[in-house]
Amino acid sequence: MSTQVIPRPSFSHRSSRWFSRNLIRIYAALAFVYLFIPVAYTFAFSFNDSGKSNLVWKGFTLDNWKNPCGAPQVCKSVANSLQIGVISTVVATILGTMIAFAISRHSFKGRKTTNLLIFLPMATPEVVLGASLLAMFLNLRINPGFWTIVIAHVMFCISFVVVTVKARVASLDPRLEQAAMDLYANERETFRYVTLPLVMPGIAGAALLAFSLSFDDFIITNFNSGIESTFPKFVYVSAARGIPAQANVIGSAMFFIALIIVIVGQVVSRQRKKS
């Protein structure tokens, strides 16, 4: 870099300096564009007046949004995914939170084995998780269906819940619980009125994560679903002939709902910090 003082740097000089100073911001902006291209595409084509296969743009319509169940099987598969998601989330969040508290607040034998057992499902490719569960169900002559999907989803969600809740418990200020004890709260009261409310955002985050993992899972579900349909499975199966625009409506709606939940959560937590 020259340190010579030039009275008025030329426009090209200034713009090249601006460019090099903001290079990383430009790069990041391009990365965001890349991330959002398929989302924008999905959203745009949810307004396509497409008929059955949604491959080419044929004109703008609001019909798909007015009648998201218009295409056969879309809403049935979404309803299935929602049910499976809710049941799996509740079970996995409870089981995972219990494990997280045991790990971060108690000493017990077999800690290393426990940690390994939590870590391994996250380090195993989904095909293997799906295939091994199916192998077991086949060996036991159990027909895969709704409940085998729930079992599988709870299984792979538990680890993620444990990791999320554990991080929150670890970040707690121990002095708060100490203060409660000093004010004559017993162990149970301290947990009920101090620890649990403080860990709650972590548990809520873990539940959201579990739900989105369950709702979006395809590979493990595909192995263990039999003839039961879920939303991702519906998209995969109909991809060959072109998915109906109603699927884009569902996908875009999910996007906006999740975005609103996250933004509201952030605003609420920020206001709590202020007060």
Binding site: Y34, L55, R105, H106, S107, F215, V235, S252, F255, I263
Partner: protein, 300 residues
């Protein structure tokens, strides 16, 4: 003595973390761990058992009996070597690309975003609220033969009309890169964000240039994030079959596609099981070596 007694007492209550040997931790652990053992550990053994089964001659499709035929592994591997190697190759390239895209992105969010940090983090995750499959289908249409990219490229003089983007290795690898990007960005961000800015200033005070600081201070301190991110990208990418199925063609098939079709289309459970088992073993070995080499054992 009274003094000593008081000291130990205050020590035991001072931690406030309730750490005493009791039944409680085991009761808290039991339901979740039993679930994981029943539906994760036992199935792995079940898979191992299926992998050495044999179909008796003249029996119905889908009936297999245990004969401990370990040659199944050799047969399965020899028949699918190509897809096997391809899976690791594609996953490796996708991981490197994802790292190249994510590092500057995570760096920018951690150090240059100021008060927009949280919003940008939400934006990194936001695309993943639209279904993974819908986004992959969207890519297949964007890059498809009648899609906007190919149509534009055809207008340019240096591409002839036979140009295709889908049904190529390029499409599969970019699909893999795209789909696992936040798994790379988030751990990178987490480890970059933890760096104390004063260490970077100190480096500058010691006359290190910006680039030297980056290379000698920032990168080493962000290594845990790099390791976590590459693992979280590589593992699911190596086992994925959705991208190859939606964006590829028969010559870009990965091992996941073979496992799926062995299970469902061919009903050849032993081969599928042997392939899954080999895949898992290979990944576990690679991951262990990688973690050893990069010297970060505190991933769990």
């Amino acid at each position: 003595m009274a003094f000593l007694h008081g000291a130990t007492k205050s020590k035991s209550s001072g931690g406030s973390t309730v750490k005493k040997r009791s039944l409680t931790p085991y009761l808290l652990l039991a339901p979740g761990l039993i679930w994981l053992i029943t539906f994760f550990v036992i199935p792995i053994f079940s898979l191992a058992s299926t992998s050495t089964m044999v179909r008796p001659q003249g029996s119905q499709i889908g009936t297999y009996v245990q004969e401990l035929r370990f040659a199944n592994y050799v047969d399965a591997f020899l028949a699918n070597q190509e897809q096997y190697v391809r899976s690791f190759l594609y996953a490796g390239i996708a991981t490197i690309l994802a790292l190249a895209i994510s590092y500057p992105l995570a760096y920018m969010i951690a150090f240059k975003a100021g008060r927009y940090r949280n919003i940008l983090l939400v934006l990194v995750v936001a695309p993943f609220f639209t279904s993974f499959l819908l986004r992959t289908v969207a890519w297949s249409q964007i890059l498809g033969d009648e899609g906007p990219v190919v149509t534009t490229l055809k207008l340019l003089p240096f591409f002839d009309d036979s140009i295709r983007l889908t049904a190529t290795p390029f499409a599969v690898v970019s699909g893999l890169t795209y789909n696992f990007l936040p798994f790379m960005t988030l751990p990178l961000y987490a480890s970059l964000e933890r760096i104390d800015p004063r260490t970077l200033e100190a480096s500058g005070d010691l006359y290190a240039s910006g680039f030297t600081t980056f290379r000698k201070v920032t990168v080493p301190l962000s290594m845990p994030g790099v390791v976590a991110g590459t693992l979280l990208t590589f593992i699911p990418a190596a086992g994925d079959y959705v991208n190859a199925a939606l964006l590829g063609n028969p010559s870009t098939k990965m091992i996941g596609n073979v496992i799926e079709s062995r299970f469902f289309a061919v009903v050849d459970y032993p081969t599928a099981a042997a392939l899954s088992f080999t895949l898992m073993a290979t990944i576990l070995i690679l991951v262990t070596l990688y973690i050893r080499k990069s010297g970060t054992d505190e991933l769990v």
